[in-house]
Symmetry: C2
Subunit: 132 residues, 2 copies
């Protein structure tokens, strides 16, 4: 609480609920899922095909967490077989620009990063002790 | 490669090097470390104290990965005992605004998210089968 009685949320405090949300949002799967949902609703199988390397188990878990947070909505249509679609909520929509910027950053700076990695790997370094 | 011979980086492809970078940047510890380094250089112990809940092992690993990527620099001063400081590189500096926006989003929307979680948890739901 600050002096006005309002709660002072602080992601740097590990007991603050915002830390869990930071962990959910600052997550590669969240970036990729929200990215796919930013332009249209998607079925589970569509997401799984488009996000290479995600397992069905992890996708199910991520979708459920994002639904619980109010970031996406899961809608079931009473067809045979039942059709299930995911889409962003208005709250989820506020993440689009933010998370897309991270995708763009990764794709824009990858060459500088690969160069930096080569330089780093070519410089042998003595073992490092404890730091304080 | 696209038709111009340029490489078409794509974070949605799990074999693309950008996927690993996305994983490093879209990470709560990266958000918190870059946030601390955004205003001043920091010693290991300062980062450890200010980022509650991070273990020395994880902090060491994250700092080394970020150094290898060219996002931070580790400078050792020949004092007794040796002083080690971390600071952002110019490349790392391009992340500040981006990652701070994620921190701010988490702190801004936490109350809506906590409400959504309460609603979700109060709605019992039948077990869900496989989706496609």
């Amino acid at each position: 609480m600050d002096t006005n009685g309002a709660i002072a949320w602080d992601v740097y405090a590990d007991t603050c609920p915002t830390r869990k949300i930071l962990d959910r949002i600052a997550d590669k799967w969240t970036v990729l899922i929200v990215g796919r949902l930013s332009t249209s609703k998607q079925r589970f199988g569509e997401l799984r095909r488009e996000i290479h390397g995600i397992s069905p188990k992890v996708l199910t878990q991520k979708l459920r967490e994002l639904e619980r947070d109010g970031i996406i909505v899961r809608r079931v249509y009473a067809s045979v077989p039942p059709k299930v679609e995911y889409r962003l909520t208005p709250l989820g929509g506020t993440l689009i620009e933010l998370l897309d910027a991270i995708r763009v950053w990764s794709e824009t700076h990858i060459e500088s990063i690969l160069e930096a990695q080569q330089v780093f790997d070519s410089q042998a370094r003595d073992g490092e002790g404890e730091e304080d």
